[in-house]
Amino acid sequence: MSDSGTSGVTRLRRRAVPYLLALPAAVWLVGLFLVPLLVMLVKSLETCSPMTGACTMSWHWGEFGSQLSMFHKQMLTSLKFAGIATAIDLLLAFPIAYWIAFYGGRRKNFFLLMLLVPFFVSFVIRTVIWEFLLSNDGIVLTTLRNVHVVSTDFHILGTSTAVIAGLAYNFLPFTALPIYVALERIDRRLLDASQDLYASRITTFTRVILPLCIPGIFAAFLLTFIPAFGDYVNQQVLGGIGNTMIGTVIQNTFLINLDYAGGSALSAILMVISLVGILVYGRLIGSATIGEFL
C-alpha cells in the first residue's frame, strides 16, 4: 500500500476505519437485539399489578418457577414437536441434498431453486393452504377415504400429527440447504481415494461422507429446531386445544393477557434452551461458519 501520510492524524484515521465501518450495525444490534434481551431478563424479575398493569422491580425470581409450573406441559410439547419435525426433516432432506450435490450435474441450481420454492410464498399462507388441504373435505382426506385407506370419521386437522406435519413442511428447506452445502464441499478425490483403498460404498459413506458433513447436519438441526421450537403459527392454524405449544402461550401472555413479566420469564426460558444449542455449535463447529450454511 502506498501511504504518503505518516502523520499521527492520518494513522489515527486509518486505525479508526474498522470501528467506523462496524459502528452503525453494532449500535443497531446492541440496542435492538442485546439490550432488549437484557430488558427482558429484568422485566421477568418485576411484579406487575393485574389491576393497573404497572410494573415495579421486586427481584422476584419466582416468576420463572410459577411460569414453568403452569406451562411445563406446553414447553415439553414444543420440545417434542420440534424434535420430531426436525428428525423427519433431517431424514427427508439428506437423500435429496445428497442427490443434488453428487448427481445434480449442470442442473444443480435448478434443483436448489426447487427446494427454495416454498420460501417465495408467505409462511402464513403456506400454513393456511395446508389447513385447507388437510381439512375433512380437503383433497388429501377425500382421496384417502375414496380408496378406503382411512375410515369416514378420520380427521387430521386439530391433531398433533397435523402440527408436526406443518412444522416439517415449513422448515424443510432450512434443513436441506446446510446439508447440501456440506456435501457439496466434500473433495471428490477423497471418495476416489476411499475406493482405491478398497472401501465399499457403504464404508465410504459412513467413514468419509458422513463425518465430513457433520457441521452441515448440526447447522441444519439448529436452523430447523430453534424456529420450530418457538413457532406458534402451525399450532394455531393446524392444531387444536390439546397440543398448545409454548409459542402460543408466550404470544397470548404478551398480546392478550398483557402480562409482560410472565411473558418475559417464559421467553427467557426459551432463549436459554436455544442458547444451549447455539453455544454447543459455536464451541464445536465455530460460530463464524454459520454464514456458509445460509
Binding site: F111, V117, F120
Partner: protein
Amino acid sequence: MTDQIATTPLRVARPRRRFWLPLYSWLLIGYLVLPIGAMVLFSFNRVLTGLPQVSFQWNGFTTQWYQQWSQVPGLTAAFWLSLRLALVAALISTVLGTMLALSLVRYSPREFRGKSFVNQTLFMNIAAPEIVMGASLLGLFATLNVARGFTTLLLTHVAFSIAYVAVTVRARLSGFDRTLEEAAGDLGSSPFTTFRLVTLPLIMPGVLAGGLMAFALSLDDFVASNFVSGSTLPFPVWVYGATRVGIPPQVFVLGTVIFSLGLACAALSVLLSRRSAN
C-alpha cells in the same frame, strides 16, 4: 495442476441408484411445490356464496379476483405497507451489513478489537428464536413508551436482517483478491474511489444476494412483526388475523403475484450465474 484427476468415471452409478434417488427427490420436490400450486390454482377459483372467501372446492375458472385485487381495503393497505417496509429495511440493512462485513473480513482482531464479540452476536442473532426477539423488543418499546407502528416494525426488521446480510457478504468477501485494490492505490486512487470503482463492483453479487435476502425476510416476517406492529398490520400479520374470519380470495392473488415475482428474480439470477460460469 495440469493433469486432469479422474473423478467420477471410476464410480459408475448402477441403474438402481439412478432410479430410486431421482424418483425420491422428484417426489419430495412435488411435495414442496404442491401447496404452492394449490394456491395459484385456487386464486382463479369462482366463489359461489355471497361472502367472498377462499374455499378448496373447485367452482370454475375466473379472473375476477385478479381484476378486483385491491377491493379489500385492509389487505391492500397491508400489502403496500409490507412492500415499503421491506424496501426500506433491505436498503438500511444492506448498507449497514455490508459495512460490518468489510470490517470483519478486512481487519485482524488486533486492528479491530471486539471482532469476536461482533461475530458471536451475529451468530446468536441468526440462531435466536424469533419469538424471543419479537417479545423482547415489545418489552423494550413498552418500557420506553414507543408507540408501535411503522417505525418499530422498521427497527425490528433491520435488527434481524443485518446479521443475514453481514454473513452473506462476508462469505463472498473471503476469496477477495486484495491486490486489485492495492493496484488502484498505487495508481493514485483515493480509498473512497478505490472502494467505489474496484471493491464495490467486485462484491456486488454478494451485496445483492444479501439485499434480496433481507427483502424476502422482511416481506415474509410474521412472528416478530406480530409483536411490534400494534395496529399497523403488515401483509402476513393481516393474513394471520384473517384466518379466524375467513380469507378473501385476494390473499391468494397477492400471494401468487409475490411468488411469481420472487421466482422470476431467482430464475434470472440462476441464468446469470450459469452464463458467468460458462
